[in-house]
Symmetry: C3
Subunit: 151 residues, 3 copies
């Protein structure tokens, strides 16, 4: 069970955020779920706020990325009933809020990627882009969007 693995790793799968007025946390079309960009919200607060390479270390960024990935999974679960119905994590785009001279976006993004592979094995191996940006919503350290194929 994926959710048990999440707990064994010391994480918690959050409840999916409530749908907002103007857009939805995730959308299912055919067998694919597109998530909205997820930030490192934990119980309604951004756990890692600031720029990686400035206020935050690359280790902070990596932990933030893992939380973003969990938040992506929570909104996927809400549409797929269970994480067991994930057939393949297809694609991640990882936006890292960083200083202009930061170049270790892949290290940060590994916080998400490594967790997904640990949870899903081969089904968790995805294509990925990791880029730096100069600003994110609520000063989040990381924002991640995911495309998932479900049964």
């Amino acid at each position: 069970m994926i959710e048990e693995k999440i707990k064994r790793l010391g994480y918690e799968l959050p409840d999916a955020p409530k749908p907002l007025a103007a857009y939805v946390p995730a959308l299912k079309v055919n067998d694919f779920i597109y998530t909205a960009g997820q930030v490192p919200f934990v119980k309604g607060e951004i756990k890692y706020a600031g720029k990686v390479g400035k206020e935050l270390s690359e280790e902070d960024g990596k932990k933030a990325a893992a939380i973003c990935a969990l938040n992506c999974l929570s909104v996927v679960k809400a549409l797929a009933d269970s994480l067991e119905n994930i057939e393949q994590i297809v694609k991640l785009t990882v936006f890292v809020n960083c200083s202009d001279n930061f170049t270790k976006q892949p290290f940060v993004a590994n916080g998400a990627s490594e967790l997904l592979v640990e949870l899903f094995g081969e089904k968790g191996k995805h294509a990925r882009s990791a880029v730096g940006v100069n600003g994110l919503p609520m000063n989040a350290a990381v924002e991640i969007e995911m495309i998932v194929k479900v049964k």
Copy 2:
């Protein structure tokens, strides 16, 4: 009629831009249309140029995002014959050209998202990422790309 709604809201659906040499304004593959990134062009000129949080206010950014969304719809229409053939707005990626300390990308992106929901109702509710960037083509305030499912 969606196009009548656009007029009633005080907007104008622009003509789709002419295809350029090296890429196309939108591409249809199976039942999906992927738009190219659209900037706030109005009659051949960028209506909102500059960085949100610096030369431009967040309200300016929001208006720019609405224009980007209309421009996305214009290129979708060119491939789908009519906006009535849109089955679902699937995904928006909203890039906001902003100062390093700007954190209200979702407010800006709502300019696009709220318009789409107003026009399309449930079919307009999409997954969305909103991120800041330090530069956009022709200094546009916003660039938006869209994935749409059509009949």
Copy 3:
């Protein structure tokens, strides 16, 4: 033959990079291949490092984009057996590592787009977003991700 055309244009199709631990260079799902973001690696080194509009000229950026496109093709080939199996280049997202005042991201992105159209003709005409960012992995000048439809 596409690979012969690549040589005639003075380029070389690189070997696909080895799969990394946490993610894969490209993923095939149904008839689509999603590439990971590719940087201008040539024989294990970033050929164009730095920010366009600062250390690098827009011409440098354009050349970097062409290399990113070739690297995307190399990882597509690894999954599609042959570049002849490409039915359509669907979508490119081009991230340009640039100074805050750089606005010619489309010029840079044309380095990829023009090459693809030269190689694939109509099949190479894609939707595209080109945006500036303040940082990329290993200080690469450009990062490109691609969605391709294959037979």
